[in-house]
């Protein structure tokens, strides 16, 4: 009996609950902090839950929030699989947004064709912004962390310049207010709303379909194989005839492209104009960073990124609702967000430990060593 229980607790399926345990642990610590601040954690977390899932609108907002996280996460899956640390999604998203909004304002597109072209051009804009660090890394030995950090800052200034000048809404330019925002895009560029009056827009289908596409690309095409091979072992890939440098550029090109598309969809799907407030995350809302976290939570698997983005969308949307109900400073929400990341990423070790336990148990109970237990390749 005791043996049965032990085996049951060791079961591989239970590993799946480790991230949930980690999230709960982070929330528990957060509850302690809430108590210290004189807020009731039960009310707070209830508000968070209702805020993220409580009604049709809440659920729609959660999904709307998840869309850019998923798109950016897909790009990150590609680049991190190639062992390229792209932390430039912020900048790539900005550039994608800028280009697609400029296109939409300039070209009075013929119906849906214009919309498609606009999204495509945003995709390409992000791709170019991503390919630059790729080329720098592949052919000039400039580390991508350095170049993407720098290019984020450059993109922010470019945005500030364009939204405060050439792309500024003419109406704003004449008013006293002079907001850094573009004019509103014509109707043709508005992505369909799926569930009015909520803001759920067709971008969610784009993201989901692309998740499938990236899955096929990574695991069922030669290109995907090459990208993964380069990430797994660059020198072996080189001997195997893969042009490593080319793959690095392609990985960053694609990674940037998805971030750029996220920027375009954010505009075509939500506000129909590009708006910032002067802060570096004024347009992206930090989606570039949260997208990285999303991808890694999804195990760098395009399909895993789907539930991961949903979870993060819920966390972010719910946390804002919690702030509204409890009136704790918004920075608590930031801390909670960070703790969830740290705890979940730490939980991975327990999976390894349990794996080892299982192997040990298998060895002691069974003369033949288990062949099923192959260690998962390390990521990042």
């Amino acid at each position: 009996m005791k043996n049965h229980l032990a085996r049951l607790l060791r079961a591989k399926q239970l590993d799946s609950f480790l991230p949930i345990v980690a999230v709960l642990a982070a929330f528990l610590l957060g509850a302690g902090m809430l108590l210290l601040m004189g807020a009731n954690p039960i009310i707070a977390y209830r508000a968070m839950f209702i805020g993220a899932f409580g009604n049709q609108n809440a659920l729609a907002e959660t999904i709307v929030k998840a869309v850019p996280l998923l798109l950016i996460g897909l790009g990150i899956c590609i680049s991190f699989r190639a062992k390229v640390m792209n932390i430039g999604a912020e900048g790539q998203m900005i550039v994608g947004g800028l280009i697609s909004v400029a296109f939409g304002l300039a070209v009075d597109g013929p119906g849906w064709l214009g919309l498609l072209l606009g999204l495509l051009i945003g995709f390409l804009g992000g791709a170019v912004w991503g390919a630059i660090p790729g080329i720098l890394k592949a052919y000039f030995n400039v580390n991508e962390i350095l170049s993407t950090v720098m290019m984020n800052a450059i993109a922010v200034q470019l945005m500030n310049y364009l939204l405060g000048g050439p792309l500024m809404d003419p109406q704003q330019a004449q008013s006293l207010g002079k907001l850094p925002e573009t004019a509103r895009l014509p109707e043709a560029y508005h992505l369909m709303r799926l569930l009015p009056p909520t803001r759920l827009h067709a971008g969610v289908w784009v993201a989901l379909v692309l998740a499938l596409v990236v899955y096929v690309l990574l695991f069922h095409t030669t290109l995907g194989y090459r990208i993964r091979a380069v990430g797994f072992n660059p020198s072996a890939s080189r001997y195997g005839g893969i042009r490593v440098q080319q793959q690095v550029v392609i990985a960053l090109f694609l990674s940037g492209a998805f971030a750029g598309l996220a920027g375009a969809i954010q505009i075509y799907g939500l506000n129909y104009r590009m708006i910032t407030d002067g802060s570096p995350t004024g347009f992206t809302g930090g989606a570039g960073f949260n997208g990285i976290v999303t991808a890694l939570f999804g195990g760098l698997h395009p399909l895993g990124a789907i539930p991961a983005s949903f979870f993060f969308g819920a966390l972010l949307v719910g946390a804002n609702a919690m702030q509204r109900v409890t009136q704790v400073p918004s920075s608590f929400v930031t801390v909670l967000n960070g703790m969830v990341v740290v705890f979940v990423v730490s939980a991975a070790i327990w999976k390894d430990l349990r794996e080892r336990q299982r192997r040990m148990a298998a060895v002691t109970q069974d003369p033949k060593p288990s062949i099923e237990a192959s260690p998962t390749p390390s990521t990042g």
Binding site: Q13, L176, K178, G278, F310, A314, Q327, S330
Partner: protein
């Protein structure tokens, strides 16, 4: 595939909890009860600038109206992302607040979309002059600050106080309220003494305190002896000015910064949103939910110049400043850049 099992079990768990929780949606009592206001702000309530000015005004109104039993308010701060703000605005409206204030000009687009869904909720939106009434939206008030007026007065003071005939500006990015204030300031300086040189540095963000400090130092190195600035990061510039031991002066805006450097701050332009809030609340109580654009100015008292009476050279600037204020109020001075 284990990842799928993991995530679907997570979702199932969430769904279960969802079923358990949604039963008791709380709803506050309506009618005859306190006037309830919700405000969504882009930065922190302690930013000594834009958001704090609104927070302070709400605290003031609450006192005027007789405490939390008569006037209740809640806030969401640091809603720098437009989408988060939109979610907050919608949520507050759904919760039945009497007035929902979207205190950030960048929220306009979202408000335009949300307001028609809640025709019995009043919204206020600033700083802007767009009420969307021409687009058929009837329940949005707009408010803005004529910050160029205080900028003009500060410019007059700077012109009177500078000995080197050089003044410096530390700005965040060249748009919005910051641009308006700075251009008002430039006009004030020029119309007082056209020979004065005006230097300008933009730090490129509202957050970079260290860069604001270096910008102030650069102005000082170039010979400027009176500085102004706007944006949350100016505390860095004020720190640099206060290190100069009284040789360089600072004139503030958006809230009273005097206590940061009492010996070198001449005066501050202070935003008092109570003026527009009082008017909007009165109108909402009379069931007028929007459609008007309000402005705080020197004339209606929403903008005030608060002098630092302990500043030793105040006498050199105050008479001219007061004359400029009068001129703007009675229309003899045009402070529009």
């Amino acid at each position: 595939m284990s990842r799928f099992i993991k995530w679907f079990s997570l979702l199932a768990l969430l769904a279960l909890m969802l079923g358990a929780c949604t039963g008791g949606q709380q709803q506050a009592a309506e009618g005859g009860k306190p006037f309830r206001v919700a405000v969504v702000m882009p930065s922190s309530i302690s930013d000594l600038a834009f958001s704090q000015s609104m927070y302070d005004a709400l605290v003031g109104i609450q006192q005027e109206m007789g405490g939390p039993e008569k006037f209740e308010f809640v806030y969401s701060e640091n809603m720098f992302k437009v989408d988060d703000a939109a979610a907050a605005i919608r949520d507050y409206a759904a919760q039945g607040y009497d007035l929902v204030i979207a205190h950030g000009s960048q929220y306009g687009t979202s408000l335009r979309e949300i307001a028609p869904n809640f025709p019995n909720t009043a919204f206020a939106h600033g700083t802007t002059n767009r009420t969307f009434v021409e687009e058929g939206v009837k329940n949005v008030y707009a408010y803005e600050a004529a910050s160029n007026e205080g900028g003009y007065v500060n410019g007059v003071m700077a012109a009177k106080l500078t000995k080197s005939k050089i003044v410096g500006i530390v700005g965040p990015i060249d748009v919005g309220d910051a641009k308006l204030y700075i251009e008002g300031f430039e006009k004030g300086v020029r119309e007082t003494d056209p020979s004065i040189q005006i230097l300008k540095v933009f730090t490129g963000s509202f957050g970079d305190v260290a860069l604001a400090r270096e910008a102030a130092d650069a102005h000082i190195a170039a010979g400027a002896d009176v500085l102004i600035g706007t944006g949350q990061m100016v505390v860095g510039a004020i720190a640099a000015v206060s290190e100069q031991g009284g040789k360089v002066l600072w004139i503030g805006t958006q809230s009273n910064q005097t206590k940061l450097a009492p010996e070198v701050i001449v005066a501050n332009q202070v935003y008092d949103w109570k003026v527009v809030l009082r008017e909007i609340i009165a109108k909402v109580k009379n069931k007028q939910f929007g459609g008007e654009s309000l402005l705080i100015t020197l004339k209606n008292g929403g903008l005030r110049i608060e002098f630092n009476e302990n500043f030793s050279r105040l006498g050199e600037a105050k008479p001219a400043a007061e004359a400029a204020i009068q001129g703007i109020i009675n229309g003899t001075i045009n402070a529009v850049p």
